[in-house]
Each structure stands twice: as C-alpha cells, then as structure tokens.
C-alpha cells in the first residue's frame, strides 16, 4: 500500500520562524560581524550576500559531555596495514582524537560559527534603526507629486469623458421601466395608418379603425416624448481624481574638496561615507541618482572615477561647489520629483572669508529645498585628539557650527572604523526625534 503526495508546491521557508529566532538570539554578534565585514570589504561588495562568522559561544548548545582527554577508552578504526598488537603510536599534538566521535555535530567547541546571510538580511541588519530624517515628511506628508487616477463615474463632466456604456445602460433600464414604445411598434402603426389612408372609399369600420390607430399613435408619440431615448438623467462621465504619489526618487550630491591637501587616505574615507549613504538611499527609494562635484578653487561635475582618483592642484573655495550643486539641481532635479541629499567632505580648509559665504548660501538657498545636508570633516588621526572639542576646529567647521537647521549635520572622522558610528549618528532615529 502506498500513496504519493506532491509537496513541491507547498510553501517553502518553513524554517523562517526558526531563522528569525536564531537571528534574535545572536543579534549582537551578527550585527557586529556585519559591521566588521563592512569595514574590511571593498565598498562595491557591500551589497552582496555573504558569509559571516560569529563567535560560536553566543549560540552554543552545551551538553554534558565526557572530557575527550581524560580516562581510558578504545577506538576501532578500519584500514590497518602494518600495525601489530602492542605497537605504540604517538598522539597527534593538541591531543585531538581522530575518532569521528569527538567532533560533536552541534558545532560546539569550534571558535566560530559561519553561515550565509542573504543580501536583504545583510542590508537590513546594516540599516537597522537607521532612518533618514524628514523622509516621511516629504515622501508621505508633503506629497508634491500628483497623478490622475480613475475614480468611478459622476453625473457631471466634460463631454470627452462621457462614459457611453454606462450612459446607454442607464438609458436602457429607464426606457424599460417607463415602457417607452419602441420604434418598431410606432412604425407598425404608421404603416397600418398609411394602408388605411390609401383606401379611397373607407367603410365605417375602417374609419373607426383609422381613428383608433391615430389616437393610439398620438398616445405613443406622446409617451415617447415623455420618456426620451436618452435623458440627461442617464448620462454618466468618467471621473478622475488627483491622487498624491510619494516621491520615490532621490538624488545625492557628493561634494568633495580635491585640492592637494586631500590625500588618498582622506578620499578613501570620503568614498566609504558616500557609498554607505548611497546604499542607504537605494534601500529607501526606487531610484537614486548620484552627482559627483569636485572642487578646488572652482567646481565641476565629474564622473565617479575622476572624482575619486584624479588629482588637481589649486586653492580651495568651497562655495563654488555649492553653487554648482544648486545649478545642477535647478536644471535637472526639480524638488517636485526628487528628494535631495547632499554629502560634503572636506579637510576643513577654505579660502578665508569663503566659509561665511557657504553658511549664507546654505541657510538662505540650499537647506530649504533639500532633505539633508551632511558635512564630514576628515581629520588626521593625530588631529582627532586635538579637536575633541566640537567648538574648536578649522574655519569651515566653526562657521558651520552656526547653522541651526535640523537638516544639517556635521561630524568628523579620522579612521575607517569611525565611519559607521558617524553614519549612524548622522541618521539615527534619535537625531530625527530631535529634528521633529
């Protein structure tokens, strides 16, 4: 006796609940492992799913076991070639038995437990409790984009929107209800009348019939006028209602000082910051554009390769970059359609007097139209200690300190491992709470 059941179409992922529990259990370690791999990996690999290792201890499943190194016991192994009874074999170093029994299948005793995260899981853990400020405000509350959507039918409207089918249906129903005489019925009577009228010498009978037909015809005509074929009551129009749609596109402006004072190290730090921001935006928006603007004493839009890897000499005027950014934004990224983010990286030096110009530009023109402006100042590792006081710093830093807009944030980094905490700080939920 047997029967076959095809289970292939059953939902898979039955163990999802267990996976979630496992993640919950090892959450701290998994997040740490993800953060660690962020620092070590090159940024382009960031989005990939990947293998991570967490300390086995956090998810150990301890059992009472016998100590493998203690006591006396015997193992039987296959494949004897030259051993005779009484031979002595030196134990391998570290005392690890080679018998399969010692390796427990639960993976305890190993230092690390490795497994694979899917891309989604990886990014979710990375972005956990991060949120972009004002995001909800723009994309949901201040929905500036509208789209016309069908919204049923109405009794008023423009003739172009006439819904013929609904109109005719209504008319048909009304005609049936009001018993409007059909054209066929009227025509029959008319024909009969015509035939009667053609008789030269009608009999009394025929005359009476003619009269009756005439009367009937008049009644029908009256009725037809009273219940018209199409009545204004029947007419229906397609209705359209404007529906707000959240803006689902974002543009990210990367502004960077590429003058001589910015070395490979500084650029690398900036790059990592930009890429994290990019990833984050990509996660939140359907479409994300990136514009790279580099500047020395003048600014220009460049491609990514040039942005990060070509060098230029010259002075430093930060405001030029802000102006170029405004220009591009006006040309290509209207605020109706785009959420605008700006990330600026610099070593903090600018031509004297320019910092004030930047602050003015930001306060008066730039900040009102964008979602977020992040300024990161990249320091030498040695400088980091000197500038632990937020009020001390280079000219630009001090000038930016005067900006009170919640959409503006500034911070300092000196080392790759600073980036992630900084990133979190910039976009943390708490920040948003303050801003609101």
């Amino acid at each position: 006796m047997s029967h076959f059941i095809d289970r292939r179409l059953n939902p898979k992922g039955k163990s999802l609940g267990n996976r979630q529990r496992f993640f919950r259990r090892a959450k701290g370690q998994i997040k740490e492992a993800v953060n660690r791999s962020l620092r070590d990996r090159s940024v382009k690999e960031l989005e990939k799913s990947g293998k991570i290792s967490i300390p086995a201890k956090s998810t150990a499943e301890p059992r009472f076991r016998l100590d493998g190194a203690s006591g006396r016991r015997q193992h039987v192994h296959p494949g004897n070639k030259e051993f005779s009874t009484g031979d002595r074999l030196r134990k391998p170093p570290q005392g690890g038995g080679k018998g399969g029994k010692d390796a427990s299948d639960s993976g305890d005793g190993e230092d690390n437990f490795s497994f694979t995260l899917t891309q989604d899981e990886f990014l979710d853990i990375f972005f956990e409790d991060l949120e972009l400020p004002n995001l909800i405000k723009t994309s949901l509350k201040e929905m500036t984009a509208w789209k016309w959507r069908r919204a049923g039918v109405t009794v008023t409207g423009a003739p172009t929107n006439l819904n013929l089918i609904r109109t005719m249906k209504n008319a048909h129903g009304r005609r049936l209800a009001l018993k409007r005489p059909s054209t066929k019925e009227v025509n029959e009577l008319k024909e009969r009348l015509f035939n009667l009228e053609r008789i030269a010498q009608p009999t009394d009978e025929q005359r009476a019939e003619m009269k009756a037909v005439l009367a009937k015809l008049e009644e029908l005509e009256a009725r037809r006028r009273w219940a018209p074929y199409i009545d204004p009551l029947d007419v229906r129009y397609n209705a359209f209602a404007p529906q707000p749609i959240p803006t689902t596109a974002a543009v990210m402006f990367c502004l960077m000082d590429v003058s001589g004072s910015m070395g490979e190290r500084e650029k690398d730090l900036a790059k990592r910051f930009y890429m994290l921001l990019y990833l984050f935006l990509q996660k939140r928006y359907e479409k994300v554009e990136v514009v790279f603007i580099r500047h020395t004493h003048h600014a220009e839009e460049v491609d990514e390769e040039t942005f990060f890897y070509s060098r230029q000499s010259g002075g430093t005027i930060v405001s030029t970059a802000i102006e170029v950014m405004q220009e591009i934004q006006r040309d290509r990224f209207p605020t109706d359609d785009w959420n605008i983010y700006v990330a600026q990286a610099s070593d903090g030096y600018t031509q004297s007097g320019d910092a004030q110009r930047c602050v003015q530009l930001l306060n008066e023109e730039v900040l009102p139209i964008l979602q977020y402006y992040a300024y990161i100042e990249i320091l030498d590792e040695r400088e980091m200690d000197v500038f632990s006081d937020p009020d001390a710093g280079a000219e630009l830093w001090r000038a930016y300190r005067s900006i009170k807009d919640p959409r503006f944030a500034q911070t300092r980094i000196a080392h790759p491992r600073d980036i992630f905490p900084v990133f979190r700080e910039l976009f943390s939920k708490e920040k948003k709470g303050q801003a609101a």
């Binding site: 076959f4 292939r8 163990s15 267990n18 203690s70 039987v76």
Partner: protein, 499 residues
C-alpha cells in the same frame, strides 16, 4: 542470470520521472519486498519535495513539523551554507518513523535514484522501524505526528502568553539536558513495561481526544491544588537514583510553572523518540542498504530495470557504502552504511555458504540456509552494540582491517591493543561493540537526592567509568541551565564506579 532483459518489461526507460513511473516502480519494489524478502512494513506515504524543502526538513530533525526554536534556525543556517557552497550534498531521502511511514523524495533525483530511495526508505527503514524492539518499545509511530503538532501549537501559545524570552529560556535549559531526558534501562518505578506503555498510550489518546480542551484551558498559569497533589504523588513514587534528569525535574522541581513542566515533557518525549535511532544507526542503515541492494538487483534480474539503470545504481550504492581507511583524509569514523551492509551481506554468506571458520564461530547459524529469517531476527531483536557483539565475523574484521587503539588520557601515545588476527578478533569485536554502546560514551548522570522539604538542594551524581570525567567547558553552562530549571541549588558530585 538471464539474458538481456526484454525492453517491454522495463518499469521506466528515462531518467526523468513521472508519477505513473513512480507508482509502477513502487509496486514492483513492494512486490519483491513483501513477497520475496517477506518484509513487514507500515503503509507508505511518499512525498515529493524540492531541495529547499529538504533543507527545511533537515533543520528540524527531519520531522515534517517541529516546534520553533533558534537552534533549528542555526542548524538550517549551517546546512544551507554547506549545501550552497558545495561542501555537502543533500540526502536523497528522509524517512520518518511514523505510521503511515512518511518518506521524502527529492524531485531532483533521477528515476533510478527514486527507485533506490523507495527501496531503501519505504521498504528497508520502514521494516526496521516497525519491527525493531527498541522502536516498538519506546516510540509510538502512530501518534508522533499528532504529538508534534500538539507540541508546536502549545509552544507557540506559550510564546504568545508568556513571551518568547521565557519560553526560549526554558527550552534552552531543557535542550541542554535532553541527553539526560531519556529512560535507558530503568522504567519509571512500579510500572511494568506493558502497564507503562498502556499509560503512555492512554495519555496520548487522552491528549488526542481532548485536543480542543487542551487548547482552551492551556497554557495554565498556575497549578491548581489537585494537579499539584497528583504530581507530588508521582514524585513520591520515583525511586532514587533516577537517570532521567528531565523527568525528575519535570515532576519534582519546586519552582516550575505548569506550562514549563509541559515544555520539559515535550523536549523529553522528542528526545526519547529519537533515542532508539541513536542506538541503531548501523543496523538501521545496514538494513535499508541491504534491502535496496537486494531489491534493485532483483529488479534487474527480472528485467524490470535496464543495464544503464543498474550501473547508475551501483555507482551510487558503492559511494554510499564507501569506507575510507583511517589514514585517508576523507576518514571521519566508521561509515554505518558500510559496516551494516557488510555485516548483513556476511550473514547471508554464513547462512548459505559457510566456511569452517564460520562453523566454529557461529555454529547455530552457519549453513542453516534461511538467511531471510536470520536477518529478520537480527533486525527485530538487536541494537548496534548487541548486533556487533553477536554477528561481527572474523571475515568482516579482516575485510575492514579493523584494529583497536587504546587511548589512555595520561599517556602520550595510543597503544594498538588488537588487530584482525586470531588473537585479536574477539577484542576488536568487543571494542567495536562498546563504541556503539551509548552508555559508554554518554556520561552516566543520576539524581541521587532532592531535599524537597528542607533547603531543596538537588543532588546529581556522575558515576565515573574508566576515569572519564565531565568536560569542564560545557559542564558549568549545563549546570546553570539545571539550576534554572530546579530553581534552587544543585550539587554535582563525580564518583568512581564501584565495579
């Protein structure tokens, strides 16, 4: 051997399978299994699943349903990575000791593999589950799925009611003690074996019948007096020492709430359900492998599968029973398939075509001719340890080149204590048999005292055998779990065995 099989007799001719192929082939396999080998099986339920579903099943002990716990998620994470990275393949099948006997077949298998798997699982394992005394005695095939369904829902309810943290903590603690949650030799006191089975069955029956009641009234927050009285009555009946730690804690812990006791019972029951499988790996796989080997060859002899199929089968079969030698990098212990299959083939040889050596070693069995009866007797009445002790012949020892290594923790070397020669056969056999005796390498822990009216200290004793002490690295963690369940102090003592 007959000549080339007639092609119109073939059950299938292509690698791709259809349900009609499966059914036709199953019928032919069943015919050989029941009428030729004389197997006695539960009704079969064969389910076709995808590789992803197979991975799902892996992580929950191969059961189609299981309660939720993070450790299963961990197992799944490991298995799926190993599979995706190609470190391991997937089993061709999973079979569940239940009535009806459920076998999972992977859709990726070729038709020949499906035939192999059906012979292996639906005939071999199925017969073993139904007939081996350990399974008969300790597992209830007909109700396991119902019970797991109850367990899963019950634990989900508890998570809702008491929060996942508490449930997880209790399950973690119970899992840490699950190896100590089985009855090995002692029955619960004052009950004969049959009485106890009747009781177990009655309770399961009760649970089934009152399923909806359970739903409505459970999980209980506090224990009412009547239930507490009944429970304490059971506790008074427990004669110490008690080897089933979880059982004792479930009944006697002063601090657990009723739903926690139920969770412990669930873990304990699942552990007990799998205990026979741990003791019969060699026999169970040997039985299934022997059966599939016989059936596939018989199908070929009858001209029901093609030469190509039998070659594909042999290729797969020989990798299943491949035993790397100890100095091979692939070596990871004795392959239960290889040992079991070799011993069962050897039994057939001894029964039908014995040598003088066999007559000396197995006077009762050698040459009596009824190998089917002999195997069925072995499958029914032995576990790995006793099976090896009874049936391992010098020839198999020679074929494998078995040798016994003595390992004394205090000495820097191993000593070769016996090899495959006249003097060594019995020692090798004893040593191998001992290796499969779970009692020898699982620590022997017992509850020896519980001061229920005084300071409520629980006393546990580890009886040390051959100087083997508990592993310190895990001992403290498990003791922590034990204390959590008990709620009061727990003392552990390590004592030398008197003998």
């Amino acid at each position: 051997m007959s000549a080339t099989p007639k092609s119109d007799n073939l059950l299938f001719s292509e690698a791709a399978w259809t349900f009609a192929d499966l059914q036709r082939t199953f019928d032919a396999i069943e015919d050989i299994g029941l009428n030729d080998l004389g197997l006695d099986v539960y009704k079969n339920q064969i389910e076709i699943i995808t590789s992803e579903q197979m991975l799902d099943a892996y992580s929950s002990h191969g059961m189609p349903l299981m309660y939720r716990h993070w450790s299963f998620g961990k197992a799944f994470a490991r298995d799926s990575m190993n599979y995706q990275k190609g470190y391991t393949g997937l089993a061709y099948e999973i079979v569940i000791n239940s009535d009806p006997c459920i076998s999972y077949l992977m859709e990726e298998n070729s038709m020949t593999m499906q035939a192999l798997v059906m012979a292996h699982a639906c005939m071999g394992h199925n017969h073993f589950f139904k007939n081996n005394y350990l399974f008969q005695q300790w597992t209830d095939a007909s109700s396991i799925l119902t019970y797991l369904d109850f367990a899963k829902k019950y634990i989900a309810r508890c998570e809702d009611e008491y929060g996942w943290e508490e449930v997880e903590q209790t399950l973690d603690a119970a899992h840490a003690l699950q190896d100590q949650g089985v009855f090995r030799y002692n029955r619960p006191p004052k009950l004969s074996q049959t009485e106890m089975r009747a009781k177990v069955e009655a309770r399961l029956e009760h649970e089934r019948e009152n399923f909806n009641d359970l739903w409505r009234t459970l999980p209980q927050r506090e224990e009412d007096e009547e239930a507490a009285e009944a429970r304490l009555g059971e506790v008074r009946n427990i004669k110490l020492p008690e080897e089933n730690l979880l059982y004792f804690i479930e009944k006697a812990s002063p601090s657990l709430r009723p739903w926690q006791r139920e969770l412990i019972r669930i873990v304990r029951n699942v552990s007990q359900y799998f205990y026979p499988q741990k003791q019969t790996k060699v026999m169970n796989e040997g039985c299934a492998t022997f059966v599939h080997h016989y059936i596939m060859n018989e199908l070929h002899r009858r001209g029901q599968i093609s030469d190509g199929s039998i070659l594909e089968f042999l290729h797969s079969h020989s990798s299943v029973v491949f035993q790397p030698e100890f100095d091979d990098p692939r070596y990871s212990g004795i392959n239960p398939y290889a040992l079991g299959f070799a011993m069962m083939e050897d039994i057939v040889r001894i029964v039908t075509d014995p040598t003088d050596e066999d007559r000396e070693w197995f006077p009762a069995m050698a040459g009596h001719g009824d190998w089917r009866g002999e195997l069925k007797n072995a499958w029914a009445n032995f576990r790995d340890e006793s099976f090896i002790q009874q049936y391992l012949s010098p020839k198999v020892i020679r074929d494998f080149g078995f040798f016994a290594l003595g390992d004394d923790g205090r000495k820097p070397y191993y000593r070769v204590e016996a090899i495959h020669d006249e003097m060594g056969y019995r020692d090798v056999r004893n040593a191998l048999s001992t290796m499969y005796d779970l009692g020898m390498h699982e620590p022997n822990l017992q509850v020896v005292g519980a001061d229920l009216s005084g300071d409520r200290t629980l006393k546990i004793r580890h009886t040390v055998y051959k100087d083997r002490i508990l592993d310190r690295r895990t001992q403290d963690a498990v003791m922590g779990h034990l204390k959590f369940l008990w709620g009061y102090d727990v003392e552990l003592e390590q004592d030398k065995a008197e003998a």
